[in-house]
Amino acid sequence: MKNRIRVIGTVQDGAIEDEVIKRLQLVIGETYCRYFGGNHHLTFIWLTIPRGQAFLAAKPSTTSVLQLPVQDLLADHIRHDFMSEVSAQWQKNTGCSKNEIILSCPDASYAKHYFDKVNGRFNASTKVFIQIKLLLRLMIGKLKKGYLNTSINF
């Protein structure tokens, strides 16, 4: 059974073409398996940020963020080689500069903790409903664009 890895990408609305995002999924997935073995399956979830909702240094930002968890306690030199390769692949495929991609490769346990914290924002009494709604929106996004995606807004 494959080890499922949840990858969260946050991109500016319309900044990266759908075909490029699909290619990124493929390329990054292949790189992940080359580094960490073929028993991993990456599930990408793409969140789009509407114009006017992202800032860097208090100015409008064009930066994308990719959270790509790796195994706990991975040695720094392997993690850094992997990050450099993914960052280069991102730039090559999107045409963006190295300043327009923030890549985090946390331990898997940290990524889960972060995800729990993000989910912890939601009203406890409607959390299940929200999660179902999110799942539906992601599926609709996949039907429309060919990959799991939805807006960062609700």
Binding site: A54, L56, K98, I102, S104, D107, R121, N153
Partner: protein
């Protein structure tokens, strides 16, 4: 990094978002000494937050500062953000989650530890261009 995600129960005017982003950036930098070019702020709107909560701020910050420093930073956010939004501090949730700098790459470089920004070529070049 840091990456501040501001979740709002409803939409707010664009000028308020601009002001909030500036305020968060200024507070973070004045407390930590980090350069402004580090600070990312993202807004998420129409979020079904906990009852009584209007704004939730989750800051993903570099690990390595003292608990007291993070406590003071959180306190300052609470005071200043609630003042800007004209809401009671109790209607706002703010939390910081620390991530080791060596797990993050920006500008093609692994992030420096807090206080070691001088060694970061990307930051010294102003986070612009290639």
């Amino acid at each position: 990094m840091p990456m501040y995600t501001v979740s709002l129960r409803s939409d707010i005017p664009q000028n308020k978002k601009n002001q909030l982003a500036k305020l968060i950036t200024d507070i973070h930098c004045s407390f930590t000494g980090a350069p402004q070019t580090f600070v990312n702020v993202i807004f998420s709107q129409n979020v079904s937050l906990e009852n009584g909560i209007e704004v939730n701020v989750l800051g993903n910050v570099r690990k390595g500062r003292t608990a007291e420093s993070n406590k003071q930073l959180t306190k300052e956010f609470h005071q200043e953000l609630s003042r800007l939004l004209n809401i009671h501090p109790q209607h706002m949730e703010i939390s910081l989650l620390e991530i080791p700098a060596r797990w993050v790459m920006e500008g093609g470089e692994v992030l420096p530890e807090p206080g070691e920004e001088g060694s970061c070529e990307w930051l010294q070049n102003g986070h612009s261009g290639e």
